[in-house]
Symmetry: C2
Subunit: 357 residues, 2 copies
């Protein structure tokens, strides 16, 4: 790799001058030398060593982001919002996937700290895990003590800036909608119970039901991975255990899509025989058939706000912004059926698998 002194030597100038030309420093350089340096850069295909630059410069520019999984549309949307603001300010984003592994999350905090990021954003659910939360907070505090800025999205554990989707209100909206449609026997396809997102959404749902004098017994909740296959499996278990079900709330849209797949396999018509409500309103929700009724979260905006907080002026008091959820009525939630033909749902209809050629 060509270095700055290679360029300087070739141009017949000192490294200092070469550096000044390359970085468009305010210090004036005569046109002739400038030309020579630029020519040398082009000939040698010189690219400054970013690590040396970051070491020599004092100010930190990159921002670290830890999400559960960028390829999950929920985080993809949030990340889009983060990117937008970061790009506007000429910041580089370092995105890390924790894959919902708390240990990996801790490691990434260290890693990003080591990479001298100016700020750190943690997106995704928190964990009901005392020990982990304490460790994380220690690490974040240590980072903040050295001037790093931190914001979290959708998790309460951190004491600093936070942007929160209103998960509880969203759960409440889903519950109220189904109650309004007359549903009394509602099952829940939930994410891992260790995630605060799961419990927050459940709490809102529970509140809506209890306002109608109904409760949500644990046997009508199935916990599984927060993805399509988790939703499909949980739905199957729910149906097996409770054939009376007239509605299912899935705690995110991926799980809802899995639920729809299971219902289709079992020949249950949505929403005629059973209703489904999802959560998040990810882009695909409108494209499944029937289109998914779901709770919309302003995902992109969540990212925009978090990045703005973290790159904005430092304020004494930590800021917590709660962004509202809203119900999006599409085609998977309908009135409770007059009488559910119990026999139909007990017998899974075989569905032809994919054929591949």
């Amino acid at each position: 790799m060509a270095t700055l002194s290679d360029v300087a030597r070739r141009a017949g100038v000192s490294p200092a001058t070469a550096s000044r030309v390359i970085n468009c420093s305010s210090k004036p350089v005569t046109d002739e030398l400038r030309e020579r340096v630029l020519a040398a850069v082009a000939e040698l295909q010189y690219v400054p060593n970013a690590h040396a630059q970051l070491l020599a410069r004092s100010h930190r520019s990159a921002v670290g982001v830890i999400v559960h999984d960028v390829s999950d549309p929920y985080f993809a949307e949030i990340t889009r919002g983060l990117q937008r603001v970061a790009t506007d300010q000429g910041r580089l984003l370092m995105i890390c996937n924790s894959y919902r592994d708390p240990d990996r999350e801790l490691e990434y905090v260290e890693l990003l700290r080591g990479h001298q990021v100016a700020a750190l954003i943690l997106a995704g659910s928190g964990y009901h895990d005392e020990a982990f939360t304490r460790q994380l907070n220690e690490k974040l505090a240590a980072y903040e003590a050295t001037g790093g800025r931190v914001a979290v999205i959708g998790r309460h554990e951190h004491s600093g800036d936070a942007v929160m989707p209103d998960n509880r209100a969203g759960g409440y909206l889903a519950g109220r909608e189904l109650c309004g449609l007359g549903h009394r026997v509602i099952g829940v396809v939930a994410g891992p119970r260790i995630l605060t997102t799961t419990t927050d959404r459940l709490a809102g749902l529970r509140q809506a039901l209890s306002e109608q004098g109904r409760d949500l017994p644990e046997r009508r909740i199935r916990y599984a991975e927060f993805d399509r296959d988790g939703g499909a499996a949980a739905t199957a278990r729910l149906l097996d255990a409770d054939p009376e079900l007239t509605a299912i709330v899935a705690l995110n849209d991926s799980m809802a899509i899995g639920a729809l797949a299971t219902l289709r396999t079992r020949g249950l018509a949505v929403p005629q025989q059973i209703s489904v409500v999802g959560f998040d309103d990810m882009p695909i929700a409108r494209d499944v058939t029937p289109a998914l009724t779901t709770v919309r979260l302003p995902l992109v905006h969540l990212g925009v706000r978090a990045m703005s907080l973290v790159l904005g002026a430092e304020v004494p008091a930590p800021r917590v912004e709660v962004l509202p959820a809203e119900l999006v009525r599409r085609d998977t939630a309908g009135p409770v059926p007059p009488a559910a033909p119990v026999t139909a749902r007990a017998a899974p209809r075989a569905r032809a698998g994919d054929t591949v050629s």
Copy 2:
């Protein structure tokens, strides 16, 4: 930020010793000193400055990846494959989105070079653009000249290692399938014509049709963005121009989903009135209704192979691996309808928009 010398001072040892302990160097250190250093590290919450390390160490460890958009499932799957191999080898991945902007792609090559990545992987379609291709090749050549490894996925422009999905064969499979089902009037919902992926897939399709003595006139092709909305719009234009259509090939699954949305809006039954074949077999393909018949590409494997090539031993001759496509028959492609009721398809049926509360 605490530095190594802070740690050393606190432990009462030299920076050299501290470094050796922290990096588990092969040089022996007495247990007592080791203890002291470790204690100091913990107390100071010391994290090594990654940039200083990369500067001091000679060997490069990170790998750079340039994709069009990680949140696009096509690239998300490829990236999953890349990650898997990289993680196994303890490599950090730097992932950059070019958003299909050639200039940004060029910039990212520089950026990653500046970050001293050990290897560079470019995934996604190439461009039919002489000037750009030449520039890119120059930059890549310069990088390789300094010991960098390069591999491309799904693009021909680079002369070195490459992993290619068999786009042409995939297009052929889609065409043959529809011909076999009796379709004669086939429309194509295509991505941007500047992308080689588009033209390769089209070429295969064209070949399949011509083997049946049919051709694929340009008026039955609509080029649009390679995403859901592009597919929806292109399908609308296609239907308006050619009501005789009995089948549509979408050149990727996102576009196919857009196509299905448009067909649903217009009240056209799939596959009874019109068939649809997608491309890529992204995970959501099996979950739309009807489930999408599509051409499967081994996306994860594409990533696995590319990373393996680039991290494996250097060989004199550049390697080109072509990974096969296969047809996945689901529910969107059926036999050509006996007689198409032309009137039905000319009149778009209004569809209720989402209602939000």
